[in-house]
């Protein structure tokens, strides 16, 4: 009789992890193909269409990068907190507050030149987003409140606050009563790079990614964060300033989500409106885990996930499958890849019982 047993890997898998990842992707694509077949659509052509329109055309790459920007910044933010084992589920609300902060500056000083207004918007988005994530950090440090619940609840408050503003004091009087602010003035719009549709926000992302990589790798604070995250109790014995670290990562986390809000409002929508809330804050959590909290991998994972969504849209358009089918494929692929992570940490052994 054959028995299956599970063993924890003693040594990290290293490059083998890549094969596990690719294997998981392949499995999920085969499953997706079967689902397409059941729908009466061409399986192989459908999967090829999905991959091609997600990653292998100039348009696709452009679309992916545009969509990846907010996911990346939010994800980078939550990864900071997760490193310290502080569970910030509140990127969605911090993103909303960042958009509100940026819009406040854009609507209050529309006539300032861009080189003053954009930094001002960045400042106000950082303050608003950072403040929103400082509240749960403060409550956790002072009252030992559970940050998961506080950040989650603050999401709703943040979104309602945004809605209050666009339905109330900030509503454009010429919008026929629809909830949206006035269009931002030209200096308040983050421009595009050359002839592309990509905004300079992409450059912000690259810089932020590199900066956080350096931060974790080479700075003392970054080391303290990693050490405290790996073992909070040991860190406290080593007299690392744990509560201060919690506050720092949370504020950084909120600021980055806030920047994502700024870029979406300014570069993509050119105004504040409720549809700015697209769930990036929650997507960010999945992406951060997919990338095992590594800043550079987060960049890759954001791009891949954004591409998946772009590709699924094209699949919908060209094959006329329902939208729910797209969500099922996305869920299937994510689940398979996350489950594949199991094999990077454990190995299976087949044993013949005597």
């Amino acid at each position: 009789m054959v028995r299956l047993s599970i063993h924890k890997r003693q040594a990290p898998l290293g490059w083998g992890a890549c094969f596990v990842f690719l294997g998981a992707v392949a499995v999920s694509l085969v499953l997706s193909g079967i689902l397409l077949r059941i729908q009466g659509k061409p399986a192989v052509a459908g999967i090829w269409l999905l991959i091609r329109s997600a990653y292998f055309s100039v348009y696709a790459v452009e679309d992916c990068l545009i969509k990846a920007v907010p996911i990346f910044l939010c994800s980078l933010g939550v990864a900071f907190a997760f490193r310290l084992q502080v569970w910030n589920i509140g990127a969605e609300g911090q993103y909303a507050l960042g958009a509100v902060g940026a819009s406040w500056a854009a609507l209050t000083f529309p006539d300032l030149p861009g080189y003053i207004l954009l930094p001002l918007m960045l400042l106000s988005a950082s303050v608003a987003g950072g403040l929103w994530s400082f509240i749960p950090a403060f409550l956790r440090n002072k009252l030992r409140a559970n940050e998961i619940i506080i950040t989650l609840m603050l999401n709703y408050i943040g979104i309602f606050f945004l809605e209050y503003l666009v339905y109330g004091p900030w509503k454009d009087p010429t919008s026929f009563g629809f909830p949206m602010t006035k269009n931002f003035s030209a200096p308040a719009v983050v421009g595009t790079i050359g002839q592309t549709r990509l905004s300079w926000g992409l450059v912000v992302c690259i810089l932020a990614g590199i900066a956080s990589w350096i931060f974790f790798r080479f700075t003392r604070l970054g080391f303290e964060l990693k050490a405290s995250g790996d073992n909070p109790r040991a860190a406290q014995y080593a007299r690392l300033p744990y509560t201060r670290l919690v506050a720092i990562v949370m504020v950084l986390s909120g600021m980055l989500a806030g920047w994502a809000g700024l870029l979406e409002a300014s570069a993509n929508l050119n105004r504040l409106q409720p549809s700015i809330m697209a769930g990036y804050g929650y997507t960010a959590i999945v992406v951060a885990w997919l990338a095992s909290l590594n800043p550079l991998l987060i960049g890759l994972a954001s791009f891949l996930l954004a591409g998946l969504r772009v590709g699924l849209e094209i699949l919908q358009l060209d094959l006329q499958v329902p939208a729910a089918f797209g969500s099922i494929l996305e869920g299937l692929i994510l689940l398979t890849v996350l489950a594949g992570g199991f094999f990077t940490r454990y190995r299976l052994e087949l044993r013949r019982r005597p």
């Binding site: 545009i66 409106q273 697209a278 849209e313 006329q320 329902p322 939208a323």
Partner: protein, 356 residues
């Protein structure tokens, strides 16, 4: 070998035949639709999709749709991809698509863009909507005649002029047959959320409403009314299948004639960017069939009113129309202008609720 070639040629010919026919008769045309919610079995996107299906029957016309596209950047990408893939006409059917569509329209001057319910235009972008308030008025007459408690409940999405106009028209219709009728409004702040909509309807039932009307996409409020054993008025499409015992009627959209007209105009080259606001006369809005509980006398008076509105003899918002505070908003002997209708931000007398 020769046989094989023959089969090949035949196959190719058959493959091309429909295309050839289409070019001979009329230029083939690709039409794309962008929906904000899943099509489902009823509601706003379902009604638009019925219009799309009507286009599929036209020779040489192929259509495609993408559903559940959120407003903002995602919608811009979907429209961009349709334009890149050579769609000739793109219909986007939610207000929030307006700015994105305008951006894409500027990049693709040869594509015709049609935006539903907005107000921005470009040389290749028109907008269209229907005078739903006319059908709302008629549904209000039915509700006003059927109520016993004189309290009508109205589950509404967002406090924007389109919705407010509908509530006011409904209230005026109800009052025209029952001066004591009052309309209680609950805002859900969502277009589509079956659970929230149903809960909102229950809260109205709890304060004594015995007819539930809605400006929502799901049949949730209909179900709530049926469970309580009272009446309901649907919206968007005929919702009688979800609550056969409650469903009195529904103001419904009928987009097919307008979509066909637009495609035909684009084909002939006579299409021009315009702001179209059709009414019951053109058939873009209508009333769903009455439930069997609606007595003949009521049906007759509603149908008479419908004829008067279609014939242009009567207008829904004809003065005097007073708002909740008693201020006259439309003077006696006058009718509200389209500008006033599009900007409506007040409730008429007899509506209980606030605009927040």
């Amino acid at each position: 070998m020769g046989k094989r070639i023959l089969i090949g040629v035949t196959l190719v010919l058959f493959g091309f035949l429909p295309v050839l026919q289409a070019t001979a008769a009329e230029k083939p045309i690709k039409v794309g639709f962008v929906y904000v919610s899943p099509i489902g079995d009823a509601g706003w996107s379902y009604a638009h999709n019925q219009g799309r299906l009507a286009l599929d029957g036209m020779p040489g016309v192929t259509t495609a749709f993408v559903e559940a596209v959120s407003e903002g950047p995602d919608s811009e990408r979907v429209m961009l991809n349709m334009a890149r893939k050579g769609y000739d006409i793109i219909f986007a059917t939610s207000f929030g698509y307006m700015d994105s569509m305008l951006k894409v329209a500027k990049q693709f001057p040869k594509t015709v863009f049609m935006h539903c319910s907005g107000f921005k235009q470009a040389p290749n972008m028109g907008n269209y909507f229907g005078r739903m308030y006319q059908a709302r008025y008629l549904s209000g007459m039915v509700a006003g005649a059927m109520t016993k408690s004189n309290t009508l409940g109205y589950v509404a999405a967002f406090p924007i002029p389109e919705v407010i106009r509908g509530i006011n028209a409904f209230a005026l219709g109800a009052q025209s047959v029952n001066p004591k009728a009052e309309v209680r409004v609950v805002w859900t702040k969502t277009w589509y959320d079956p659970a929230t909509e149903k809960e909102a309807a229950k809260s109205l039932l709890d304060v004594g409403a015995d007819v539930i009307a809605q400006h929502q996409d799901s049949p949730g409020p209909q179900e709530a009314a049926q469970e309580k054993g009272v009446y309901s008025v649907g919206y968007n499409s005929d919702m009688s299948a979800f609550a056969p015992k409650a469903h009195l009627t529904a103001p419904v959209w009928n987009w097919a004639p307008f979509y066909k007209e637009t495609v035909a105009a684009v084909r002939k080259g006579t299409w021009q960017s315009a702001s179209t606001w059709y009414g019951m006369k053109e058939g873009i809005v209508d009333l769903a069939p009455f439930g069997e509980m609606v007595p003949k006398a009521i049906r007759d008076s509603v149908m008479a009113k419908k004829r008067a509105i279609v014939g242009g003899k009567e207008k829904v918002f004809s003065g005097p129309v007073k708002d909740q505070s008693g201020t006259v908003r439309v003077a006696a002997g006058k009718a509200a202008t389209d500008q006033e209708l599009l900007n409506m931000k007040y409730f008429v007398q007899g509506v209980v609720g606030t605009l927040e």
